[in-house]
Every structure is written in C-alpha cells, then in structure tokens.
C-alpha cells in the first residue's frame, strides 16, 4: 500500500492522469500494470486453462481420425489438420444415441415441469398463506434438500419396484422431483418474498381468490425466478446418474450419462473418438441453454445458497 503511494508520488503525471480515470474501477488503479500481470492475469489464466483443457481435449478427440488418436509421436497431439466427423456419424447412426438423447430430454422436461408446478404451489403457501406450521415446513424442505441421492437409491429401488415403475421412464420422472422440489421451492420462496404484499391485498379486496392471485399477479411477477428454477432443475436432471443407473436396465430407456458409461464402452477396446463425441453432444444442450441464461443460472445458484 505504502509503496503504491510512493510510486504514485514519484510519477506526478500519473496522479493527474488517474484523476480522470473512471472510479467505478474501485481501487485497482493503485496497482501498476506489471504487478497486475503477475498477481491477477497469470493465476487467472492458469486456472482458466486447467478448467477448460478437458473440454478442448474432448472436442479435439471427437474430431481426430483414429490413427492420430493413438499415435502421439508422428502427429502433434494438440492439434489436427484433418478433422473428421466419422465418430459423430458412427455415434448418431450406428448406436442408439439419438434415443438416449430423447430419453434424457423427455425425463428432464417432465420431471422439471412437475417439480416447478409443485414448488410454485408449496412456495406460495409457505410464504404468503402462512398456514399453521408454515415455518416448520419451510425448514423441513431445506433439510430435504440436504438428503443426498446416494443414501436414498437402495430403498428407492425397492419402492420403485413395489410401485411397478421399475425400468420405465416414470421411475425417473417421479423420483427426480425429490431432488428438484426442495431446491426450487427454496429458490421460489425467496422470489415470492420480494413481491409486494400490497398487490395481493388490493386483489383480495377486489374479490380475487388465492388461486387467481397466484396465477394472475404473483406468477407474472416471478417469471425471472421461474426461469432460474427451470434451468437449474433441467441441468440437475440432465446430470443425474445414480437413480438412472439403478432404476433403468433396458438400453432403450437409458439416459445419456448412463448409456455412455454402460452401453458405449464395449469390452476393452474403448472407442475414445465416439465416447468423446458422445460426451460433447450430451453436454451441448446444457451449454447452449446456459449461454442464453447465464444471469438466471447464476442467480439460481447463489439465490439458493443465500436464502
């Protein structure tokens, strides 16, 4: 700090120049460019490199011809001059990959829709109806969020079997909401709290029922929250693995993550090209969705933590 001031004092011109700098930068103007290079850009660059390299490697492997994949000496492994779509083609036309993608999409959309409907009702009741014990129910829902699938999958598999849902898409559509409802209820409770009371009071005086208030007043105002909840739930569904692995046994009902590790890995000859192509195509829908709704995504993640 003191040497930063000393540096500024030794360069009177810079002090002058700095006064014209936009102060929204905060105090970063106190640091010199070389210093920022070492303390900020270098570590940030390194971390970003490590975070992104696996994706680069995934994409590169997916388009490399087979002979280049396994020969690291003749060809530079970090680049390829003859990209090929052979792996993607093989994946889409010689395996059930499109079916798995469709299953994942179907399960994710249905489970998310169910969860959002249930959560909207529950969150509204907890925040605005304030029935007897609403606070306790809110706490219980938060606790439900902390129950991990890894301790539930064994008893759930027997439950799913008892209900006759084993090895059908319904096993997943009906069990995923247990992961999604606590999260999205908690998120929506936060959003509903921000909607002014007065609006609802006016509507009540005008003779609206609670249902009408929810549908015509609260929901239109909570659209950003609904989008956040929807995307986050959708991502969680797409990511879910242990239930899908346990409850589904026939290949035609598998979701992408499970199918890739069980059906696409045949014996000892790993088809790295198709595997990576599968991993990449499986992630693309989420990445595209994420690219469009970054802000909603971040607010869902931080909102659920902050509440």
């Amino acid at each position: 700090m003191t040497d930063a001031l000393a540096k500024r004092a030794s360069h009177p011109k810079r002090i002058f120049a700095d006064t014209s700098v936009d102060h929204s930068e905060g105090m970063s103007y106190l640091e010199s460019v070389p210093r920022r290079l070492v303390t900020l850009y270098l570590p940030l660059g390194l971390i970003l490199l490590v975070l992104l390299f696996p994706f680069y490697w995934m994409a590169l492997t997916a388009i490399k011809p087979d002979n280049q994949l396994l020969d690291l000496e003749t060809y530079s492994p970090f680049w390829t001059w003859n990209p090929t779509l052979k792996h993607v083609e093989k994946l889409l036309f010689e395996t059930d990959y499109p079916v798995w993608l469709w299953n994942t999409m179907l399960v994710a959309v249905c489970a998310t829709a169910l969860s959002i409907i249930a959560s909207v009702l529950a969150a509204y009741a907890i925040v605005r109806l304030r029935y007897k014990g609403a606070r306790w129910v809110g706490g219980a829902i938060f606790l439900a969020y902390l129950v991990p699938p890894s301790i539930l999958f064994i008893p759930l598999s027997t439950v799913v079997y008892q209900y006759g849902l084993f090895d059908t898409p319904f096993a997943l559509i009906l069990t995923y909401p247990t992961i999604l409802i606590p999260f999205s209820t908690w998120l929506l409770m936060g959003y509903f709290k921000t909607i002014p009371y007065e609006l609802e009071e006016c509507a009540l005086i005008d003779g609206a029922s609670r249902w009408q208030i929810l549908v015509r007043i609260v929901l239109p105002l909570a659209v950003p929250g609904l989008i956040s909840a929807f995307i986050f739930c959708f991502t969680l569904c797409w990511n879910e693995f242990i239930y899908a692995l346990t409850f589904i046994s026939s290949t035609q009902y598998k979701t992408v993550p499970v199918a890739i590790v069980t059906a696409l890995v045949d014996g000892d000859i790993y088809r790295w090209g198709s595997l990576m192509a599968g991993a990449m195509i499986g992630s693309l829908p989420l990445v595209i969705l994420y690219a469009f709704f970054v802000e909603h995504y971040v607010s869902a993640m931080t909102g659920a933590v902050k509440e």
């Binding site: 905060g26 970063s28 975070l51 969860s115 439900a144 991990p148 609670r210 242990i242 971040v298």
Partner: protein, 316 residues
Amino acid sequence: MTDAALRPAAQLDLPPLWERLKTNRDWLGFWFMLPAAAFLILFLAYPLGLGIWLSFTDARLGRPGEFVGIENYDFLSDDPTFWLTVFNTLLYTTVASTIKFAVGLYLALLLNEHLPLKAIIRAIVLIPFIVPTVLSAIAFWWLFDPQFSIISWSLIKLGLISHNIDFLGDPWNARWSVIFANIWRGVPFVAITLLAGLQTVSPSLYEAATIDGATPWQRFRYITYPLLTPIIAVVMTFSVLFTFTDFQLIWVMTRGGPVNATHLMATFSYQRAIMSGYLGEGSAIATAMIPFLLLAILVSWFGLQRRKWQQGEDND
C-alpha cells in the same frame, strides 16, 4: 331455552364445509402443499425410513428380509474393506473440500477485480459445473489413460518423467487423480457463489481501510473474511455434503478400483446392494453415512450461529 336460541346462531356463523375448505387459510395451505408433500413423502421420507429399516434386515434383491438386529453393522465393523472406504471417503472429502475452498476463494477474489471481458470470463468459469459430471469424468478418464494420457506425454516431452504415469492403476495415484477431478468440477461452484458474496461487500470499507494504512492481507483478514463467513459456511456445507456422497466421478473413472483404493461409501454401498444383491448390507453402509452428514450440517450451523451472535443480530 337459551341453549336452543344460541345453537342455530352459532351454526349460522360457521360457513359451510366446502366454503371453509376453499377459504380457510390452513385448509388452503394444505391443498397448496399437497403435490410437493406427496412427492417428498412417497419418494423421500418413506425411502429414508425404509433405508434405515432395511439396514437392520437381511433383505436381498427380490426378497424381502427379516429383522436381524445389528448384524449388518456387526459384519461391517469386522470388514476391513468397509473401514478402507471410510478412510477413502474422509480423505477424499477433507482434501478435496479444503482445496476447493482455497482455490475457489482465490478465484473469486481474482474475478472480483476489475477485468476486461469480466462477464464472459465469469460465464466461462462456470462451465465445468454445467456439464454433466459423468461426461466430464469420461474426459478425465481419457486424460488419465495409462497409455495415451496427454499429461504423461507432455511431462515426458518436458523431460520431467521417463515413463507414463499409471494414473488410475496405482492406489495412491488413483486417489489423487479422482480428487483432482472432483476439485476441478467443484471449484467453479465455490468461486461463483463466493463471488456473489464478495459483490455485496461495500468498496468504501476497503477504501477506508486503505486510508488507515491496512495491507492487502489485513484488508482480506479483517473485512472480506468476516463479512463472507456466513456464505462460506453455507457453500462449504453444500460442498462437503456433495463431496462426501459423491458417486458419479468414482463410478465412471475407477469403479472403486484399484483394489478398492478409491471406493467411497456411496460406491461401496452400490456395489454391495445392487451388484451383489445384499440390500441390507448396502443400506447399512448408506445409513452409516448419515451421522457424518449430520455432523457436517451441525458444524456449519453452529458456525453460522456464532457469527450472528458476534454481530448481535437476531435470527432472520
């Protein structure tokens, strides 16, 4: 006489049952809670209880078990593999969570600086968290391939090592490899949530401290850290919970091998319950995770309470 006069009046005051079901606050609350409650009771609370019950039975796949008391736990306590998985799980959770916290906080502090293309960099940082774990775990599997690993290749070319590293074949290498993959996947979550916390810290506090001659370390220690404590407690609870119960990464990369070196309690219970069919024993392993999880929740809860008490706030 007076009774007779009063009774009809009392009945008149009370609206008909149907009307009460539609307008009474508690009844309305009940109707609104019904869908969520149905899901959570049928598929969460009931299985949770059932799981604990199963752990006291000798149930097998496709055969309901009989009550056997603590036989499963007794058996597990004599099973060295079980204690190995407990050790693995604790090692995995402690190391991965600590490093995730350190790197995540550091990354959050870096991202909180004034940067060109700030928004894009932040969006990119979160990508490892968006991509399904299984799919990135497959990429790591390929990166850690014993023969064609690009990491080994690069290190050999740099002259640092002479042979390929057997990342997933050697017990300790495998442990560090899966821990690395877990850190890679968890850092963005920690960083972005802590960043959201950092953005609520008023810059004028730092300016005031700077004028008073505080060093960067002092600014971090006495401004950033205390103001961030509540959100750190919550984020780390989640991080510890999800790391402790991790299944996907291990299952894809090593399936618990080599020689059970990377088996976590979750993967071990899957192996015993679903693959070998011993539902009771698997449930006992899963149930054994609950005390650890409760401990993690309590620690962070009391951490939060202490914080509030220090700041003299009521509970919100």
